[in-house]
């Protein structure tokens, strides 16, 4: 079965290369731009909100609709934990991440009767070029696991037949930083 991975950047490529599934699946990596933090909200422009929040969010909605229309059984949306933690100088990016993460729950509620599962995977901010020295730490305690963390395994499992009873959830795959 095919896994369609949409999105740009290194994370999307890692998932494109690594995720395989026994179901028809779609993986949506939110197009979140962490390289453009904004130092003060007073500098926020309409254009910035449109580019950083609105257009990427519309692409998430469209990608979910495409996944539904192509009869995907498993849909996984990948976001940074910044939506859950918030991030100084990253308010529009955090809004995008959290919008996408909660839309997963709405989709799961509507599409569950069709046997479609929709889940989110929240990964470390660095995957989206978010600078935690600016945004603030995701958690007070240090990361529990010290090894490099990859979301490939979690996404692969959520795309599998074995995860058929899991929907509307967020699995945080960050080595035990956000708890």
């Amino acid at each position: 079965m095919s896994v369609k991975v949409s999105g740009k950047g290194a994370l999307a490529q890692v998932l494109r290369d690594g995720v395989h599934s026994d179901t028809r699946s779609a993986v949506i990596v939110v197009d979140l731009d962490g390289e453009n933090s904004i130092t003060s909200l007073t500098k926020l422009t309409d254009t910035y909100i449109d580019e950083i929040y609105e257009q990427p969010m519309q692409r998430v909605i469209t990608a979910l609709q495409e996944a539904h229309s192509t009869n995907c059984e498993r849909i996984v949306v990948v976001v940074p934990t910044t939506g859950m933690s918030g991030g100084a100088c990253y308010a529009p990016q955090a809004a995008l991440a959290e919008s996408a993460r909660i839309l997963v729950k709405s989709a799961a509620r509507q599409w569950g009767t069709n046997g479609i599962t929709v889940n989110a995977v929240a990964v470390e901010p660095h995957w989206f070029s978010i600078d935690t020295s600016i945004s603030g730490a995701v958690a007070i305690a240090p990361r529990s696991l010290t090894n490099e963390v990859s979301p490939v395994g979690v996404v692969t499992w959520l795309c599998s037949e074995a995860a058929r009873d899991i929907t509307g959830q967020t699995i945080v795959c960050d080595g035990g930083l956000w708890m």
Binding site: L41, T82, A91, E98, S106
Partner: protein, 263 residues
């Protein structure tokens, strides 16, 4: 007798021409705040102002379209020009909420109104208010304290089966609150959200049309009722606006009688 908790403070409440916004405006005014009823139409805002004044409070109406950044900027500028300061910004206005199937949802019809009035407008309100909230927090203790309060929804936490695109718009507000709480902490400004389930005109109309809906909501609510816009929701806003909450920031208070317990 206790002094009123918001004496000499100035608050803007968007969407205060009815419903939750009206309840919050009334409650803040009861505690001494001068309230700017920011409503899209004077026809809804002015009667609330008159009602607050009749009860002994102070209020003015400024017609504001929160989806337009220039309108929000003008509201804040007008407020400061008329009243000399701004301490509390409450963004409650919201437009949208048409039930839909996600797979058939149209961006322009189902998403854009909620995104503009929920997400964009939260950022507009925050941006316009920020310098004045900083100034408020710089006042001596007990005489000020910048507050940004965003009205979200339990659906912004748990998703929605009926209005799926409502949830992401409301979720964004929680993330904005957390982000700005981090960003503005150094100024002493607090940023919080309220997730109410209240007897707004829209919900009460829905109850009239569908009594079973009211029964269902009350049955799933431990406290057995929906909230009163002034006494229940307005009082939570009062707490977040007052000095009592000066060490609370980045939080969401779900004010729904215990229906949602997932935080």
């Amino acid at each position: 007798m206790n002094a009123r908790r918001l004496e000499n403070r100035v608050a803007i409440v968007t969407g205060a021409g009815q419903g939750v916004g009206e309840g919050i405006a009334r409650r803040l005014a009861q505690e001494g705040a001068t309230v700017v009823v920011a409503a899209r139409r004077a026809e809804t805002g002015e009667p609330v102002v008159e009602s607050i004044r009749s009860a002994g409070g102070q209020a003015v109406c400024i017609v504001t379209d929160v989806a337009v950044s220039e309108s929000v900027d003008a509201c804040v500028a007008d407020t400061v020009q008329q009243l000399g300061r701004l301490d509390i910004m409450v963004h409650n206005a919201f437009m949208g909420g048409i039930p839909h199937k996600l797979e058939k949802a149209q961006i322009d019809k189902h998403w854009t109104p909620m995104s503009r009035t929920g997400v964009w407008a939260s950022l507009f309100c925050a941006r316009a208010a920020m310098p004045h909230l900083v100034a408020s927090s710089a006042r001596p203790k007990g005489e000020g304290g910048g507050r940004l309060i965003l009205i979200t929804s339990p659906s912004g936490v748990e998703g929605s089966a009926n209005i799926p695109l409502y949830s992401p718009a409301k979720a964004a507000q929680r993330a904005i609150a957390k982000s700005l709480a981090r960003e503005w902490g150094e100024f002493g400004i607090t940023v919080n959200c309220i997730g109410p389930v209240a007897g707004s005109p829209a919900l009460l109309t829905a109850f009239d049309r569908n009594p079973a809906l009211q029964q269902a909501i009350e049955a799933r609510t431990p406290l057995g009722r929906v909230g009163d816009i002034t006494d229940d929701i307005g009082s939570v806003a009062l707490f977040l606006a007052s000095d009592d909450s000066s060490f609370v920031t980045g939080q969401t208070i779900i004010c729904d009688g215990g229906s949602f317990l997932g935080l």
